[in-house]
Every structure is written in C-alpha cells, then in structure tokens.
Assembly symmetry: C2
C-alpha cells in the first residue's frame, strides 16, 4: 500500500514523498482494518513540514491529522461491518491507504454526509466547539467575536455558536464575504478596520463581548482586542497572517483582558475518549444539515503527494487525499 | 492651602496647575486631618494628564495616587496623635497641602523609614506583591521572570520575591545594571536579546518558569514570551516602550500560554481594607530594611507643579511633591 511521509524539514512540496508501506494484517479483536476515503491537508500539516509546528518529530514521519475511512475487515467483538464509514480516531497518520483502528474509538458516519465533509469532522469543528465552551461560560444570546471568520474554524464557530444559542460577530478582510457569511448564519459580519470597536458596538447594541477568537494575528489582532469587553478573553488558535500577535497594552491592563493560546493537539493528548465521542456526535448533525460545510477544491490520490501538497499551499478551497 | 490640578488633557507640564483650595476643617470622629510630607509623581500620572490612562475623569481634577502625611488634627475615637506619620489610604488626591482621611484605613509609618520611601509604599510594591501572589501559585524556590527589572515595580518584585522564598530572573536593556540588580537581590540578571530563552535556560538549569511580568511591550515582550514555560502566565502591567504588546503566536498556541493584564487601580476598587492593611504591613519591613528602595531625584513643593511635572517627564530617579 502507499503512504505519504515527510523525509526532511523544508518546503512542503519538496520534502513530501509517497512511499510503499506494509499493509496492515487482518485486525485483532476490537480493531478494524479500514481503507482511506478522504483526508484533508490542513495549514498545520504544511507548518509541520516546514518545521514550524508545535511538534517536530524525528524523520521520516507519517502525516495526516484526520480522515474518514471504509471498514474492509473487522476484528472479533466489534459492532462494525465491511463497508461502514468511520471517522478515523485521533492519533493516526491518516495519509495512508490502510490503517488499523480501535473499533471502540471509531464513530460511524451517517449516510447523509459525503466523504469529503466527513473527513473534516474533527480538527476545525472540535477547535471551534472547545473554544466556545472551555474558556468563558456564556449565557444564551451572548455574542462572541472572531476574525478569520471565513476560515474552516471560523465557519464552524458560526454554526456551532448558532446551535448553542449564541450569536456571532464575524470580522473579515474582504467585503465580498459579508453576504456569504450572513447566509452561513453569521449574525453580524464586519470588514476589519481602525474603527472596528465602534462598529461592533453599534451592530451589537453595545453588548459586552466576553469571548473572542483570534486566527490572524498582526494588526487584525490589535483591532479585535479593542472589541472585547472588560474582563474578557481572547483565544488565539492560529496566526494566519504570519505576523506576530499584537495587542495594545492599555487594552490588556486597563480592561483586564486575558489572552490564551489554544492547541487542539494538546487537548487531544489528555482528552477522555467518551468526551471526544460526545463532541463528534454533536458535530455530525451540523455537518449533515450543511451548517458546517467546507468548500473542497480538489481530491488527489496518495500517489500524487507532491502535486497535492503544492496545490494545498496555494488553494482557496480544501485539498484532500484519497486512497491510491 | 495649595493643591495640584489638571485643567485639560495634553502635555503634562502644560495642563497642570497649582490652585488655591479650601483647607479641610477640624476632622469629624474617626477621621484625621493630615499635612502632606511626600507624594511621588508616577508615569501613570503623566499618562492620565495626556488622556491616555485607564480613566479619563472630567476636568479640572485633583491628582496624586499615593503619599505619606503627618497628622495635624485628630477626630474623636482614633488611635493617632499629632505628628504621627501615616500612609494616605487609597482613593485620595494626594497632591494637596492638607487632606482629611479615615483613621481606620491610615497606617502608621515606622520611624526607620524616611518620608520619600514611605510615600511610595503602595503603588509599585502592591503591584509587585499582587502579581506574585494572585496569578500563579508558586512553590518556594521557583523562578519568576521579569523585564523592566530596574523599574520601581521591578525592584519591588526582586525584594518581595526574595522575602517569599522565590527566585527572580531579571531582564534589563543596559549591561551596566547587572551588578546593581544582583546587589539588590536579583538571582539572575540578563541583558535582553534574541537568544534570551537559551540564556535563561542555562542560567536557571532549565527550570520551568511559570510566571513572568511584562512592563516594556514591543520586542522585549516577544522575547520574554519565549522564556515562559508551557502552561505559564505572563502578566502585563505596563508598556514602557510605548510599543504594542507583541507575542509569537506559536508560543501562545503550542505552549498554552496565558497573557493577563493587571491594573492596581481596578484591584483597589474592590479590595478588602483588611487585606490592604495586611499587605501594607508586609511591605513596610522591606522598605525599612532597604530591600525596597527607590532612588529619589528631587522633591518640589506643590507651588512648583509645572517645574516638577516637567522634570518628572525626563527624570531617571523619582520626583516627589511635598507641602508648600
């Protein structure tokens, strides 16, 4: 079988290889052998290839953070059958034709969800969900604010917030996204700029916003910091501008703000598998009804790793792998 | 009597005035009439005059955040007598010849402390003490790290940390401060620079540093952020460089850092007076034995407000007021 590996740290399309790997044998009791249906290429994967991610494993190393697969062989004592579609549990290198996974930790995918959307059920939706629940206890109707509102996480925030009875203020850089994000369920959508705090206050009737999500860094972060209420929290989950994280010290000091980092990988390392399953079952209906939907640009077989990675580095929509 | 007021927002030496004010009458029961001995001019006072502080009171407004005074008249039912030196409680505009204060909230100053040092017993030492105790629970022997180590707060951090059995890593911009801050009790003193995290790790034997104090902002903050351990907290209490607060998003995200603002004025607004007194009694011995000592550059009468403020804006040591 084929698997995608990284053999060096550098430009992603230069350090990625498709390798021949040993196909897993028939699964032992409680395990499933699965064949990859779809696995996304995330910005974090490219960061890891560049050696700029939060972990820097020894090389060569398998890749891929999430995906959906089809059961091809079942170990004893499991509830699955051949052809079942499952979300690959956290902790596997998903860019491989076949994997052996724990039946207990595998979650079946409902029929109404296509492979591509199912393959992205974990990383971005979990990030959005946990940022909404694990930092500030919000009451129904409260606003949260985010920049990078058009990103995978941003769109998941809109959908999950709405499902939980919260409202969103969404900050974007391009005006043409306003209608699109409103259609996606964003309550307020604004273009970033110097007077952002004033426009946010107007659009929300001066509602205090106690929680913000920061995915851009740079000046966009300074701007967002000015919109969060006294005592509020800003959660930094990405720095898409590749600029430093920036805040205005008087905002931090006089308004008693908290800035926190959030990294899903760290959360997974100590997460209770029952909670993981619970959140997956909370996310799947939102994916099934189209509330969480990521535009897909192209799907490549694992044999075209370089082409896929090169495309992912410049794509607007998502690039996915499927089995070769 | 004379009192110093701000009549407009602008350049501090242009908007400050010495005014004739009504001297308070004999104090009612439980109150003391006091005469100012010394009151410092802090950077925060100059920020307020420029309209850049966390509060922007309607004008004209009295000024001065702390000070020491001599009792000149006592209300019934107090333990004080004429000539007692007291720390003026929080909440008074101290830049005035006379004040009426609550005897219950006044703290007597021990004989071994001079007026100038007694007048600065509150703002900087309280900031240092509360940052050391109210954000991260530290075990004896743990390191804290700070930049602006030569500031009033920075020197108080060194003294209070030592008194509490903690160790300090002190980051400065000028090499000539190294010996001085080591003599003041700093365990490690380093000059800021790109490889700061590496040098901190060497100097501390790779001890995890879970708490940092940030008083500079700009690149100095980015540098400091790299020295704080995974899960650690950076408390921002000032931005002396007048640059934005800057952090490296991967530090925040992958190392799960928390950045918090701290503003003493907000703390005082809801502080229990018994806790205030307790901390004052914890600070006074450190001032008495010279552990907390702020270099004084000049003392002006209240009648020379413009000259004093103008001097404070460019002084290296502290500028104080005394009664006219």
């Amino acid at each position: 079988m084929l698997a995608v590996q990284v053999v060096d740290y550098g430009k992603p399309w230069e350090v990625v290889r498709t390798m021949e790997a040993t196909e897993p044998p028939s699964p032992p009791a409680g395990q499933l052998k699965v064949k990859l249906l779809a696995a996304p290429i995330h910005p974090a994967d490219l960061l890891l290839m560049r050696g700029l991610y939060g972990k820097r494993p020894s090389l060569p190393v398998g890749m891929g953070g999430e995906g959906v697969a089809s059961v091809v062989d079942v170990g004893e004592g499991t509830d699955f059958k051949r052809g079942d579609r499952v979300i690959i549990p956290y902790g596997h290198d998903t860019w491989a034709d076949h994997l052996t996974i724990s039946a207990k930790r595998a979650v079946k995918v409902p029929a109404g969800i296509d492979d591509a959307q199912a393959s992205m059920a974990m990383i971005n939706p979990f990030t959005a969900r946990l940022m909404l629940t694990d930092f500030v206890e919000l009451a129904p109707g409260e606003f949260v604010i985010q920049n990078a509102a058009n990103s995978g996480v941003g769109r998941a925030v809109i959908a999950i917030a709405k499902a939980r009875g919260l409202r969103t203020v969404n900050v974007v850089r391009r005006p043409e996204l306003i209608d699109e994000l409103k259609a996606a369920g964003g309550d307020v959508v604004l273009v970033d700029g110097q007077d952002l705090p004033k426009r946010v206050a107007e659009a929300t009737g001066n509602a205090p916003i106690r929680l913000g999500f920061e995915g851009v860094a740079g000046e966009a972060m300074r701007s967002l910091t000015g919109t969060v209420a006294e005592g509020g929290t800003l959660v930094v989950y990405a720095g898409m501008s590749a600029q430093p994280a920036v805040a205005f010290p008087p905002h931090l000091i006089f308004r008693d703000l908290t800035i926190r980092g959030f990294w899903l990988i760290k959360w997974f390392r100590s997460a209770d598998p029952r909670l993981v399953a619970e959140i997956q079952h909370e996310m799947l209906p939102l994916i099934a009804d189209g509330s969480i939907k990521v535009p897909v640009e192209h799907i490549y077989p694992l044999s075209s790793a370089r082409e896929a990675i090169s495309h992912a580095a410049r794509a607007k929509g998502k690039i996915l792998f499927t089995a070769s």
